[in-house]
């Protein structure tokens, strides 16, 4: 019963393409999205995302972006389905098993290789005619999160990274210069301690937390092709990067929230109350600080540089199209619209950093706090793009935490993590 539906969809898609070609001269949309002949697209496009209820993101999506798109393409209805973030992955997995996936998903970048490996995503670099044009417009680091075995399975939608946040007035009072390198941070730690604060705080030891330190020290987790980890994760540079943190912790300059276990003083609360001197965090912290601690002014600078420079970790979400979608043409059009300047800037206003690389100046005009993030993004790298990453991440966190607890040395922890990662990576190579 599904076959005839697919057949009709295919015919409709081909028909709309040919009609679009004919009528492109008569219907030109005024916006910068560059679409033409949009009124031949019809149907519904379902779009799953994890913007929370009552948030400015979801209202921008539903009140600004979608209506603008539907105006350009009156035959298309976009149905956005908000799913609580913690449950979205599970819902996707179940939907894969039951073949009930939507047309589009705003997927965490870590899920893309996993879904691509399962074969449920559309290889857009092959099937989307203008893919290369779109790919050229985005930050390379963000595009790389969509690559799996030589094909791209989605496009980046929004991005973010971690920079160093601190309270400038606290550093002034403590008489300490704001550190720009790892060595300066270590040197400043005792003075910060006497002023009553931990030099640095973080709440986990997974890739998101430790990779800036590893990369800035010149190390890495895997080789460029993501085939093996030994020789990279346990290299001298990587060990040095993690050792910095462990040394700070052992000297009492870092709080124990890095060991996990909930209920401790959160990084944001600690920074605002001057219990933590520096933290690494993303652009979403600015609205949070503004709401929760209106008297606190936060400053940002680049991740402390090591031997490898100042390299941070890329986060964000990609937009992917599912293979079982019945309305791929319209869905692809919506993808294009989401990557248009209009949509990207609209989202930028509510804290979602755009992936278009030439919007840099306009971004600082929207939110002055975007500037340090844009700068950091020039060199930021994504976490290893492999379906095995979820498991490797868990192993990495467990091993490093064991090093923090003193159960093994950093070298031993990373050796063990690397060999376990090798086994997992081998499954996909």
């Amino acid at each position: 019963m599904k076959h005839w539906k697919t057949g009709i969809a295919a015919v409709a898609a081909i028909a709309s393409l040919s009609v679009a070609g004919c009528s492109s001269s008569s219907e030109q949309s005024p916006s910068a999205s560059g679409t033409a002949g949009g009124d031949t697209l019809t149907g519904t496009v379902t779009y799953w995302h994890a913007y929370s209820a009552d948030s400015p993101e979801v209202s921008t999506l539903e009140d600004t972006i979608i209506p603008a798109f539907e105006k350009l393409h009156p035959g298309v209805t976009v149905e956005d389905v908000p799913v609580p973030y913690d449950e979205l992955h599970q819902k996707l997995v179940t939907a894969v098993a039951g073949e009930q996936l939507p047309d589009l998903v705003r997927a965490d970048i870590g899920w893309v290789p996993e879904l691509a490996n399962l074969g449920v995503l559309e290889p857009v670099s092959d099937t989307m005619p203008d893919f290369q044009d779109l790919a050229d417009k985005v930050f390379p680091g963000t595009l790389a999160t969509n690559l799996w075995k030589g094909t791209y399975y989605g496009l980046p939608l929004d991005t973010n990274t971690r920079v160093m946040l601190y309270d400038a007035s606290f550093f002034e009072k403590a008489g300490v210069a704001v550190p720009t390198t790892v060595d300066q941070l270590k040197a400043a730690a005792p003075a910060l301690k006497s002023a009553g604060a931990y030099a640095f705080a973080d709440n986990g030891a997974s890739g998101w937390n430790v990779l800036p330190w590893i990369w800035s020290a010149g190390g890495d987790i895997t080789d460029a092709d993501v085939t093996k980890s030994t020789g990279y994760l346990n290299s001298a540079a990587s060990v040095k990067g993690v050792q910095t943190l462990v040394d700070l912790f052992n000297s009492g300059y870092m709080p124990d929230i890095i060991l996990g276990g909930e209920g401790g003083l959160a990084t944001s609360d600690g920074l605002a109350t001057n219990k933590y001197a520096t933290i690494l965090d993303g652009p979403w912290m600015y609205p949070i600080f503004a709401g929760q601690y209106p008297d606190f002014t936060v400053s940002a600078s680049q991740v402390p540089a090591g031997d490898g420079g100042s390299i941070s970790v890329v986060g964000g979400e990609d937009i992917v199209l599912t293979k079982q979608s019945q309305n791929k043409e319209a869905a692809m059009e919506f993808m294009r619209y989401l990557l248009s300047e209009d949509a990207q800037l609209a989202m930028a206003k509510v804290g979602q950093m755009p992936v278009l690389s030439d919007l840099g100046d306009q971004l600082s005009a929207i939110n002055a706090y975007y500037a340090p993030f844009v700068e950091q993004l020039q060199t930021a790298k994504p976490r290893p793009v492999t379906p095995a990453w979820t498991q490797i991440d868990t192993i990495l966190q467990d091993e490093i935490r064991a090093a923090f607890r003193g159960e093994k040395t950093v070298q031993e922890a990373l050796d063990s993590a690397a060999s376990q990662a090798d086994v997992l990576l081998a499954e996909y190579n």
Binding site: V96, E114, D256, L259, G261, E262, T390, Q397
Partner: protein
């Protein structure tokens, strides 16, 4: 042959003290009774079988394969490999120990406190309704909210729990990092379990206590029994059925603990507080190894069933005295 074929439910003619002679009422002819019985049972059972048993069988079959979630992908048969792997998996074995400890800690406490509260609230006390509502509030509060609050209470700094343990009770010199260790973490989760479950147990015991006919209590007190004796010799035997039911349900619930562990510690740090179901969830939904996840849950089910059967058999032997 008495009706106590049913596990752990004690037949009792309240107050009479003798075993009944005729187990049940014979309807007009055994056939009519059977037809009637099936009419009572089949509608519910059919739905139950469709919604629970059929998927359970499918999950069981799944556990014998290296199951792939994408339909159409071949899922090779691996026989008992998943089960063998489970019983050699230190994380799984530790998780069993964790849930056993959790059960041993929470079940007696919930029964004792629940029963105690029910007894206190059984009498005609003014304001009784208000108290019943208050004790039931933890049961209806959502797990997300409650876990958050308990994380806060058991935080490693100067939280409420540390305040009690260090300052008030003096059991420790320094603040305990509750969620950093396996047993302190399990203790915190256990306290949450007891707190949330007491009202539930209390409810069932209240219902059972109110079914005790007043005349029996009056007769006992006319015979000179005080409140404690009345409880021991009249009420307690009468609610033995409820006690067994509550015990079995709490026992099963203890081993099947899931959401509170997931929200409080996520099984961490580093698998220290994993229980079988959180481990199953991680394997199945995070790592997409559904065959192994199913094997874990069926191994757990088998163990719990065996334990319940043992408990029932032991209670039946006690009943026979």
């Amino acid at each position: 042959m008495s009706i106590s074929q049913m596990p752990a439910v004690a037949p009792q003619t309240a107050g009479r003290g003798t075993r009944r002679s005729r187990p049940r009422v014979a309807a007009a002819g055994p056939r009519r009774a059977t037809r009637a019985a099936y009419a009572f049972v089949l509608p519910g059972f059919a739905l139950y079988a469709l919604i629970m048993l059929y998927p359970a069988v499918q999950t069981l079959l799944l556990s014998f394969r290296d199951w792939q979630i994408v339909p159409g992908t071949p899922s090779p048969w691996v026989g008992l490999d998943n089960y063998i792997r489970a019983f050699h998996d230190p994380v799984f074995l530790d998780s069993l120990v964790n849930s056993a400890a959790y059960t041993a800690f929470t079940v007696p406490l919930q029964i004792i406190i629940g029963l105690g509260l029910a007894v206190l609230l059984d009498a005609k006390l003014p304001g009784r309704v208000a108290f019943r509502v208050l004790f039931y509030l933890p049961v209806v509060t959502s797990w997300v909210v409650v876990s958050l609050l308990f994380q806060y209470i058991f935080q490693s700094g100067d939280g409420v729990a540390n305040h009690v343990v260090v300052d008030i009770l003096g059991l420790s010199d320094s603040n305990i990092n509750w969620f950093q260790n396996r047993w302190t973490g399990m203790f915190a989760i256990g306290v949450l379990g007891v707190w949330k479950g007491v009202g539930w147990a209390m409810l069932i015991f209240l219902a059972a206590l109110t079914a005790v006919p007043n005349e029996l209590k009056e007769a006992a007190s006319l015979d000179g029994a005080n409140a404690g004796q009345r409880f021991r010799y009249v009420s307690l035997p009468a609610i033995r059925g409820a006690l067994s039911v509550v015990f079995i349900l709490l026992f099963i619930g203890g081993f099947n603990v899931f959401i509170s562990v997931l929200l409080m510690t996520g099984g961490g740090p580093g698998n220290a507080t994993q229980v079988p179901l959180t481990y199953m969830y991680q394997q199945a939904f995070k790592f997409l190894d559904f065959g192994y996840g199913s094997a874990i849950s069926f191994a757990l089910t088998a163990l719990v069933l065996a334990a319940s059967a043992l408990q029932y058999w032991w209670t039946r032997r006690r009943m026979a005295d």
